[in-house]
């Protein structure tokens, strides 16, 4: 049976801000994956979050370059995080999602690295940490 609450993928999901239950920002939806199935409607497989995904959207070559550069030079992984739509709790201007702590850490690994390696060594950096 088909329930009525559908989503406009471009207007409601693409580039929307992701928030957890405490309204903490977890990034934006950089792309949406559709699974093509023979004889059945395409299924929304996941929302994808990550710099490499965003770069790919701008230009596929740029996406490949960002992925390779991240593997070679960056100490932190830029591998995209895939979130199933079943994690969605509320759809509005922002999207509220329900994910575990491990997924939150994966979504915020670049921010965590920046906090550890860039902000904390700055004078007063430790005091500014929330």
């Amino acid at each position: 049976m088909m329930a009525d609450r559908g989503i406009n993928l471009v207007r409601d999901l693409l580039d929307a801000q992701l928030l957890d239950g405490d309204e903490r920002r977890l990034g934006r939806v950089d792309d949406v994956l559709l699974e093509i199935r023979d004889g059945r409607p395409p299924r929304v497989a996941a929302m994808e979050v990550g710099a490499a995904t965003l770069a790919r959207r701008i230009n596929p070559t740029l996406g490949r370059w960002v992925r390779r550069a991240a593997i070679r030079w960056l100490p932190v992984s830029l591998r995209p995080v895939r979130l199933p739509l079943t994690t969605l709790r509320a759809v509005g201007v922002d999207l509220e999602i329900d994910v575990d702590e491990a997924t939150k850490r994966r979504l915020l690994r670049v921010e965590a690295w920046l906090r550890r390696r860039v902000v904390r060594p700055l004078p007063g950096g430790k005091e500014n940490e929330a």
């Binding site: 329930a3 559908g6 993928l9 207007r11 949406v32 994956l33 559709l34 395409p42």
Partner: protein
């Protein structure tokens, strides 16, 4: 035989010109509307094409602008297996919003 899982990015589909089998351009895919199944999964229900769909995507209030043309295709009326070249699988007149 097991079905092969094929994934397509939404960004590769949106903005693409949909063509008929004989190469005629019908319009660009501007929006993809899903329907939620009872198990919580979302499936593509329809594709919205044309300038009216672009206004819908940009959430422009319709009463402020002249009504624009929007075509609505069911999921089975557009083949997106090649996202760079979506193909209309039916006659243009069968699309919702098309003038007959």
């Amino acid at each position: 035989m097991t079905a092969r899982r094929r994934l397509v990015y939404l960004a590769d589909v949106v903005g693409r010109r949909v063509r008929t089998a004989d190469g005629r351009v019908v319009g660009r895919i501007e929006e993809v509307r899903t329907a939620r199944r009872a198990n919580g999964e979302h499936e593509v229900a329809e594709y919205h094409l044309g300038s009216g769909a672009l206004l819908e995507r940009l959430a422009v209030v319709r009463s402020l602008v002249t009504p624009k043309r929007m075509l609505i295709a069911r999921w089975d009326q557009i083949d997106i297996r090649r996202p760079e070249a979506p193909l209309l699988t039916c006659a243009v007149e069968e699309l919702r919003g098309a003038s007959r």
